[in-house]
Amino acid sequence: MNDYLWDRSGDVDDEVRRLEELLGAFHATPATPHLRARRPLLLFALPLAAMLVLGIALPAFLAYRASGWRAGALAVYRAGDTIHARAPLRLETPSIGVVDVGAGTTLHVVEKRRLALDVGTIHARTTSPPGLFIVDTPRAKAIDLGCEYVLDVAKDGSGSLRVTQGWVDLTRGWTQSLVPRGASATFDKDGTLSPPVFDDASAAFKDAVRRHDVARIAALARQRDALTLLNLFSRTSEEERLMIYDRLAQLVPPPPSIARDSMRWWSPGVTDAWWPPVLKASGVESIKKK
């Protein structure tokens, strides 16, 4: 073999030389392609891992969280869980809303829409339809009617409810207090519920309610306190009901269908027609269905 073809040594082979000349026309030195700095694999892996987390793990985790009450970034409380809050804690669930739990509170998750407050304080702000969210206490239960409220329970089981938005139905057995925005109600260690009392009522009126002194209550009631009087029918004697009827009729005239004598045999439906004018006189909106 001719060495010129191999390594251009030796005699020049004319034919090879001719091929070099002809085919040399196709020689080119294209510029190096413009290359962007590559990122090490790890830097690709991190965004990839992030995409996996966002695409798969995160939705699964969010679905898991949505099925319970979430607290902070990671904790999720589900039915059967007990929360002993040593420090203030915020619980959230999309279908209900937000519950801020005070320090020293013990709370159980009964089910997704029902909590049990043993002791301590919660501040609930709900977005759920009325009647869905319930908080049990040892002596009463608070049924959310679309609202914001603070519920406090002492170690002896007594407690108070203060409503800042909407309404709460505070109930124990057959006794009920419908508490509107701007009013509070209490329950004692024996489970006796107070009627709702507006926070701007006089101290004397509040004291009379606390003592269940019906005569004083009637005497001290303003027109706005008509709601308190209307709630007393379910927890008073016949004589007391007549006294309340007379005072309430002075503050808010009853509809013609509600006769004074009907107070002797009072039952829950008897005074229903009185509610709308009483609410109007008390300056609160009626319970809305969301």
């Binding site: 002809l22 196709f26 990122r39």
Partner: protein, 177 residues
């Protein structure tokens, strides 16, 4: 005394490039562009080969992490080049006319002869084709071809010798015709 500089191996350059070292990849480009271009030129019009050359190396750069055996870079990029040439060739126009334009020799006759010789080489089996193009187009010597292609020097010798014989026969036949 200054120690002689030792050229980094392909594997060292690949590993560095995988870590994001662009100059390392540019050294791989300088090392393998002639081989890749010969593969492409054996299948595509010269102008297309230049475009495809850029694409092959950009593809290789983007997929470098998939090369698990860094020392196998030469074979890996040759495969990319052959695949890319197949894709390109599906839409190829009149290759020989394009090559005449590309060669742009002093006379049209010379340009036509150059394109004709290239076409004859393209008609040879791949082993001869790529070896001859490395020798006549890229101007590499036999030992350089062996070093870049991974072929043994003996194989390169055979390919060159046999390839030139076949090329000569092909050109002779075309002259007679």
């Amino acid at each position: 005394m200054r120690l002689p500089e030792v050229a980094p191996s392909d594997a060292e350059l690949v590993l560095a490039a995988q870590r994001g070292d662009v100059p390392a990849f540019e050294r791989l480009y300088a090392r393998y562009a002639p081989v890749v271009r010969s593969i492409l030129l054996g299948r595509l019009a010269a102008a297309d080969a230049d475009d495809a050359l850029q694409e092959v190396f950009m593809t290789a750069h983007a997929k470098l992490d998939s090369l698990r055996e860094p020392a196998a870079f030469a074979g890996w990029i040759a495969r990319i080049a052959r695949n890319r040439a197949e894709d390109f060739r599906r839409g190829a126009a009149d290759t020989q006319q394009l090559d005449r334009d590309y060669a742009a020799r002093s006379t049209q006759q010379e340009s036509a002869e150059a394109a004709h010789a290239l076409a004859a080489i393209r008609a040879l089996p791949a082993a001869y084709r790529e070896t001859l193009l490395l020798r006549f187009v890229e101007g590499m010597s036999g030992p350089e071809i062996a070093a870049r292609t991974g072929l043994t020097p003996g194989s390169v010798r055979v390919n060159l010798h046999r390839g030139v014989q076949l090329l000569r026969s092909a050109l002779d036949r075309s002259r007679v015709a």
